[in-house]
């Protein structure tokens, strides 16, 4: 088991270095650079000297190989340098945005779990009834509806309904305040995006819960439990659901990791100043250092969650660690 854990942990490092090299190269293959965007995106003019000064200021006039070694050496020391756009330390830029993305991810996960597990279980237990049909339709709609579209529509619905009812359109505040400063205002800002994302997230988990439950319910040990005369509630809660949740937990974990950096469009729709929006901004601005750091954060989260899942499976299933 220890050899398996060590080998999996050691695999993380070449994965990270490979990802670092890839993102470094891809960013520089895109024509243009941050100085052109900074000086010329407004349609205004600028001097050649200004462009040269900008290049020198942020260090992109140096050979790529030096920039790459700087990046890798900085990464090894957990120092990603400064954002080429704002001049602020990249860590600070990410740290400012991370709590918002984390909060939305946690709330969406809670919403997803609260919706998915009961409905997925009921759907499996009532297979091929009208209840199953309704739940499946609900989950398929969630899978088919893009979260950003749902976000836009939900805001418009709120605006239209409040205008029709109260005469004045209302929408949640758009200037974020932390939870500990003003919990009600914070929740009113975060609730709509969390619901929007949570719906899709719930749909995925609901499908997984249903199929896992259906599989488990056909297992011999469930039949044995029934034959023993155990009450239905105990069979479902203690024997069926507990075992069926293993793949569901995996899906929830992976989805959660995705939400921490993947809410690219949804954060834009709700004007949330999170990691996803920062990612879009950094790519648009061709801010190499910030994009590299953000990609590395996302890759690290993905690699670590995969590692945890692998270890979790190994712990559950001896065949994996002994193979």
């Amino acid at each position: 088991m220890y050899r398996y854990i060590i080998s999996r942990i050691l695999l993380v490092f070449p994965t990270l270095i490979g990802a670092a090299a890839l993102v470094f190269l891809l960013m520089r293959l895109v024509p243009g650079d941050i100085c052109l965007v900074r000086l010329g995106s407004g349609g205004t003019s600028f001097t050649q000297q200004a462009l040269a000064t900008c290049h020198a200021e942020i260090g992109i006039d140096r050979p790529w190989i030096l920039q790459f070694f700087d990046f890798i050496w900085g990464m090894a020391r957990l120092d990603f340098g400064k954002s080429m756009w704002s001049g602020k330390p990249v860590i600070m830029e990410i740290a400012t945005r991370f709590p918002i993305s984390l909060e939305v991810a946690i709330m969406a996960t809670i919403i997803a779990v609260v919706i998915a597990i009961p409905l997925g279980t009921i759907s499996a237990l009532k297979q091929n009834t009208w209840i199953d049909l309704v739940v499946r339709t609900f989950s398929i709609a969630g899978l088919a509806t893009p979260a950003f579209w749902l976000g836009i529509v939900s805001i418009l619905i709120v605006l239209d309904v409040t205008q029709a009812v109260f005469g004045h359109p209302w929408m949640p505040p758009i200037d974020y305040v932390p939870l500990w400063q003003d919990p009600i205002r914070n929740l009113s800002i975060v609730m709509l995006p969390a619901l929007t994302i949570g719906y899709r997230y719930a749909a995925v988990s609901m499908r997984m819960t249903r199929s896992a439950m259906l599989e488990v319910l056909r297992e011999d040990y469930i039949r044995t439990a029934r034959a023993k005369g155990l009450v239905r509630r105990l069979i479902i809660n203690r024997h069926a659901l507990k075992n069926a949740l293993l793949p569901v937990v995996t899906v929830i974990g992976i989805e959660f990791a995705f939400l921490l950096g993947g809410l690219v469009v949804t954060e834009q729709v709700f004007n949330l100043n999170g990691i996803g929006r920062l990612m879009v901004l950094s790519v648009q601005n061709q801010d190499y250092t910030l994009t590299q750091a953000l990609v590395m954060v996302v890759v690290t989260i993905a690699v670590l969650s995969n590692l945890v899942v692998d270890l979790f499976y190994a712990w559950l299933d001896p065949r994996i660690r002994l193979a």
Partner: protein
Amino acid sequence: MRTGFRLGAVVVSVLLAIAVPASASEMPKRGGTLTYMIPADAPPSFDGHQEGTFAMLHATAPFYSTLIRVNPENPSSPTDFVCDLCTEVPQPAGEGDTYIFKLRPGVKFHDGTPLTAADVAASWNKIISPPEGVLSPRSNWFMMVDKVEAPDPSTVVFRLKFATSAFLPALADPFAFIYKKETLDRDPQWYKKNILGSGPFKFVAYETGQSITGVRNPDYYHPGLPYLDGFTGIFADKQATRLDAIRSDRAAAEFRGLPPSARDELTGALGDRIVAQESDWNCGSMVIINHKRKPFDDVRVRRALTLGIDRWQGAPALSKIANIRTVGGIVFPGSPLAATKEELQQIAGFWPDIEKSRAEARRLLKEAGAEGLSFELLNRNVDQPYKYVGTWLVDQWSKVGLNVTQRVVPTGPLLEAQRSGNFAVNSGANCHGVVNPLLDIQFFLPASVGIANYGQYEDEKEIALYNRMLRETDPSKQRALMREFEKYVVDTEAHQLWVAWWYRIIPHRSYLKGWKISPSHFINQDLATVWLDK
């Protein structure tokens, strides 16, 4: 006849009069906090001298003073400049090459230290001749300035290399914030991350990428101003977010410009709770032609491109869906240097008879052996108005037998393609702040002297013509030279094509008063005269 061509400007004035009823006669109310949207993400820095984006200006202009500025009570005028820190806009002394400014007494920075002529001179010297490693993207606007001096604490003297009417409008640059000399001497980059001005509002807080907040400066030197207790600017680059915020009254306005559909959506939903101010915009759509790409090295082909475009019919039609409206030459339509409609109609591409124009285009293409020419139109991946204009141009050129495909790319790759000459024809834009035609048309100068001409050509005759015009101080002679220059660059040589002027639409909550639209989203944003009628 010029009056006829000024119809656009008159229409704008009438619209303004209707849109802002009796604003002048209303008594401003003090107090309240204005929340407005800044239609962008966070600016790279807070240093006005180093940045060129409106995102920086809309966030920080309320904190700063400038030496002179566009009159905030009459910002739609392209020639009305008033003092901010000075006491009187001076007449040039000497041979028209010396400007002596007297400063208001008692002006203080927000930290309580007095603002003196030394601060003004140091700020301007940083803009005109930046220290090593410090950006100054607009330094070329001040090529006429020889030196800036502060002979005593209340006097600033600008000595020019030559007299030119381009100087005063350039001096009203809204980015030219006045900083503390002591701070600049210590660290010329300090203002990138810090805010310390002498303007109507004091800096309170900046939430990175989210919002910026200011409160009234009780020591502001313009008596009675500002009216607001404070303001909050919220960054939001998505138009839908900004519209929703205005509609739900989370914000009162945004000050860049929205398309006609957004105005209609807001007025449809809110009725008289929304007021729309509109103006011609000192930005325009143009076509950049790469002279190094065959067959565009042939002036006949370039002229055919401009002759194929029906601006007189197209601009009004585009104005229904895009931020485009007025047909004009290379000079902003409201400027005394702008062409009249009759003058304009003498220029290829602006002829009143489009059939005659297109027939000539086909003849030129045939003569140049470029009939049925296929090429790619490079465009910016921005809806308003780039993609609308690009799509329209493709259609216009198809009417003279050209097969044009449009390729849209993000800003970075577009700018790279422009600078490296990796394009054939580009649908671009030319955008400015203060209306200053002599500097605004630098876009048309060859790359050896122009700073952003991507046409890849040289033309000594054009440069000589420009230099004569720049140094001509007699208005009528200067105007005649401008006509000659305009005809030369967009007709005779058709170096680049001018398509149409943009149109600025600002729908805002009707309780927001005292803000007047200008021809640029860069100017009149210090919010000192803004008040809330609620």
